[in-house]
Symmetry: D3
Subunit: 235 residues, 6 copies
Amino acid sequence: MRILVINPNSSAEMTAAIATELMVVKRADCHLDVVNPVGGPISIESAYDESRAVSEMLKLVQRAPGQGYDAVVIACFSDPGLDAARELVDIPVVGIQEASMYLAASLGSFFGVLTTLERRVPVRRRYAESLGLGGKMVSTPVLNIPVADTVGSLDRMKATALAKGQEAMAEGAEVLILGCAGLGDWSHQLQEELGIPIINPNAAGLKLAESLVDLGLSHSKFRSFQQPRVVLPLD
Amino acid sequence: MRILVINPNSSAEMTAAIATELMVVKRADCHLDVVNPVGGPISIESAYDESRAVSEMLKLVQRAPGQGYDAVVIACFSDPGLDAARELVDIPVVGIQEASMYLAASLGSFFGVLTTLERRVPVRRRYAESLGLGGKMVSTPVLNIPVADTVGSLDRMKATALAKGQEAMAEGAEVLILGCAGLGDWSHQLQEELGIPIINPNAAGLKLAESLVDLGLSHSKFRSFQQPRVVLPLD
Amino acid sequence: MRILVINPNSSAEMTAAIATELMVVKRADCHLDVVNPVGGPISIESAYDESRAVSEMLKLVQRAPGQGYDAVVIACFSDPGLDAARELVDIPVVGIQEASMYLAASLGSFFGVLTTLERRVPVRRRYAESLGLGGKMVSTPVLNIPVADTVGSLDRMKATALAKGQEAMAEGAEVLILGCAGLGDWSHQLQEELGIPIINPNAAGLKLAESLVDLGLSHSKFRSFQQPRVVLPLD
Amino acid sequence: MRILVINPNSSAEMTAAIATELMVVKRADCHLDVVNPVGGPISIESAYDESRAVSEMLKLVQRAPGQGYDAVVIACFSDPGLDAARELVDIPVVGIQEASMYLAASLGSFFGVLTTLERRVPVRRRYAESLGLGGKMVSTPVLNIPVADTVGSLDRMKATALAKGQEAMAEGAEVLILGCAGLGDWSHQLQEELGIPIINPNAAGLKLAESLVDLGLSHSKFRSFQQPRVVLPLD
Amino acid sequence: MRILVINPNSSAEMTAAIATELMVVKRADCHLDVVNPVGGPISIESAYDESRAVSEMLKLVQRAPGQGYDAVVIACFSDPGLDAARELVDIPVVGIQEASMYLAASLGSFFGVLTTLERRVPVRRRYAESLGLGGKMVSTPVLNIPVADTVGSLDRMKATALAKGQEAMAEGAEVLILGCAGLGDWSHQLQEELGIPIINPNAAGLKLAESLVDLGLSHSKFRSFQQPRVVLPLD
Amino acid sequence: MRILVINPNSSAEMTAAIATELMVVKRADCHLDVVNPVGGPISIESAYDESRAVSEMLKLVQRAPGQGYDAVVIACFSDPGLDAARELVDIPVVGIQEASMYLAASLGSFFGVLTTLERRVPVRRRYAESLGLGGKMVSTPVLNIPVADTVGSLDRMKATALAKGQEAMAEGAEVLILGCAGLGDWSHQLQEELGIPIINPNAAGLKLAESLVDLGLSHSKFRSFQQPRVVLPLD
């Protein structure tokens, strides 16, 4: 199967980091491409950033079926443009925040989300509530690091992450999600140190995409994700 | 006070209809401009349409404070780009769906939303849930009319609207929202016929905007709607 | 338009303070009367106090339409007798707690309510839940001041209020409601000091009343607020 | 033990009917008095009726401890003045709607409430939601009978009640509450006919009151039901 | 009436302690037997322990009607096998956690549950949510004592319990449930010390059982608790 | 990887049917064994049936790690004994109802569950609510077929299933779960006929198990699924 992973920001460094992570966890029979659109924001930390990233990202999604991809993964934890992407194509489009949160909810009674910036805490909570998981997300510890700095700063921030993870456990989190596509690389090490499941959202998204392809399932085109009446042709 | 109403689709006909409606309900001391961006979709009926409309709409929002506006109203019932718009400016930005739903919830125990297309029913429900009003929205009768046709078809559709309103009342709706910016003109007539409050979302949005200006209130810039780190300069 | 604001307790001092506040924020074309019933409790701090205040308050409401009022505002944060008042008359009756909470919910993701007494904390929470906003009210800091003392003690309590507001922000509140009709005067100063929107409930209630009159909307008389079968004649 | 049952409307006929019912179900060691205040509304069908009934009812509650009662039951399904009554006295005060709904929720997954008038349907739903039982109350079939007529019309309405009960079962109700103090007499017969538990709210309230006395439990005086600062002396 | 109380673990010491407690609170006309199955786990602290206890417990339940019992109480706070027990017999089967939580919710706005072990905290929360009471359970202070040690350690743990109760009150609990069948003996003393209602779950369960017998009510056999198609004969 | 699928009832026919289905959908590198315990109920249609099945099923789970399995799937839609199974072992244990419901929730806004017997409708609803998905499960159409008859009756019931699926869509379901381990074989055909995603719960469970093994994730042993203090040795 062929899966397209789109990092919707324009950081080639983050795209490369995601590719490196996912090559390890992907199935042998899965051909994987990790790309990013040109010209979007260097990181996505606000609804405004999301709005800037979505147009070009949607073109990559729109092209994917014609290029032979069986599924698409949007590798930004905010799941920007997810509904629009699902409307555009018949193949499954996976959002890594949605995939991570439902996975976390099935691995423990309560979970936490390690969050990059304080401003994104309410956004994470509202998203969990939209999934029905508001009562299960009990902690959103803040790392206080700009998204663009995550990839290069993992080592330096280890101590902070460990402390924040322990804080989340004290608040009742039995599972922890690394709430940024740039944090994924940490998951195994942090899992060992904290002794609870740590979810790498990129990997969770990829596995859900692989599963959907195997199951012959995609998003419902009845009601919510119906094809738009007018779709702009690709250039 | 000066208020900018943005119809985010590119239908000048709908823009004109909204302006006509609002001129009647606006306060004497309120200067009102109703505009639409150039080049967006002719109507907004899907998340994809929303994504197409948002970029240009946000530029109009971004310019508004410099042009002396005291508040902005986004006059599309889907409230496209609302969070991003609020991040961009310090003046209040009102979404007409949000304004209508909270107003409806304060006029009766349960309300309904007259909906243009079946595909938007789940989107309306999810929005009500995000506002905390999922338990109060009891009915979403479908008119089955494309958004672009609303403005010109009001007369022809009266009978349908009346029947759908009665259906909503039988399901427990004590208040009805006209769930499309192009349906607003109907409100007084339908209110008389059905005998329950009918909310014109454009008018509800405008009144909330006027109130916020009087109250010296705007959206919180702490956390959720904090200014984005990088904002593209206006051309 | 003519609006009647009823302070349901019997404190003429609080009535005067509310009038002073509201004269500043009311529209030029709005004639405002602020009154209180004779013989009720000097302050409303319990359900028992509410029960004592309601009879006389309802008579004022009942008289309002005949006196030419277009709307009524109940200026006590507990919204005593609100449902009964809405049943009695066809003009809109606004409760300031309801108006403030829905307004707060539309200005940020989460809000707090500055509360006079610890005993009213559960009452505020239950009210927010009844509006659907239980998940959005994240903080109810307690000032620990009897309601009757609020009006005269604002200056003295400034430091406490500021500290409690910061506590609410640390708990995630992006907006703060001054949870007592006697606290309203503080709003602008506190807003400047805390940097988040501060809602004066009296003003929020008045603006909602003005808006409803302009919109030709009132509470639904279908089901919840239907006219009672028997209404006692006014003396 | 001595229990005071207060029918808060002024219908001596209903008071007598409640007394007759309860004499059968009360424990041998329970001395029971069933009374009604003088001068209130003949039936309670609206929030306005509740407001008219509460003052006199609260005086009966206030006197109860001094008269040697161990508990009070408010025998009107709307639970009027319940919070105020609990604030006034240290002995338990039971509301029959609250008692019935929690009992229903423990006898099946979902329950229905047989309702006298359509206008009370939203009130019942809001009450269930305030108890946390909004998701468990699945049906509110309407008998369409004024409260004052219930006591004398039971025989005549049997067929309607049976049909409405079956309607509730088809909607998923596994338990049915007779949602009016005047309907209680029906419970055993309807239970036999429908084959599901039928709750007589007066009886449910009495049994809860007896249990609380045995358990040495009363409503918490910490926070919600704290004694009011000022209580009017009894005449 | 005859009531069978089953302690589903195999600790005869705990069975005796429960019997001693309940003899004091039972009604004079209630014949009470307190038993435990042979061969189950010595205490129930996990879902695995519950699964070990259920088979033998269900046989005791199945025999109860033939032995002339009018109701059964399962005296383990985890309510193990409650649904299955209700399916098996027509007489009421009461779970003490369910009985305690609904009782607590009717004595105050918010309650806490004194919990034996940290691992049971999420289980308690999930149970409260299943009853609709997730929003009302605000505190689950942990005693950190194995269930098997509760009965013999009450005196030694008094200071801890008092401190934990005060902690719960600071978190907003107006009522406290002793969250283990082995803690019941404490209730009156703790109630006096803390000044809020303390619920002994065994006693709460017994009183509900007595009430149900008086009311002629049992669990609905329509849908949820319908008789299983095949029931193994008793040996 | 090696995955153990346990059909917890004693129907070898159903076990064989599940194995046949799953061999098609499993990954090439996944070694799969599908087994059932000896001596349990022939089908699981009640909580009592669940209690009969769990003991033997848990022994199979307990043995799995020592036999080299990397994950376990419980292939009964009621997810019997899931919490206990997760406590017993460190490898992931997947419940097919949980896996199906979270998958359904990520493929559309609302889903339905095709249910075998009316008595299981409330059980399915309560389960969805425990997952946070109560608001997303909008339909539970009943096939009215005993679980034991599902495997042999698929062809005969096609017309019913199709009609029930259309009924679910009319109620707003955008995705449909086949709510019984014996119904899985239908999924592709029904998906083609209805035009919405149809989830085979066995397959959904297997794919989640495979994903968890790849991700190095298992259920949290912190709090909810901590190892029981005492575990009986295997015979």
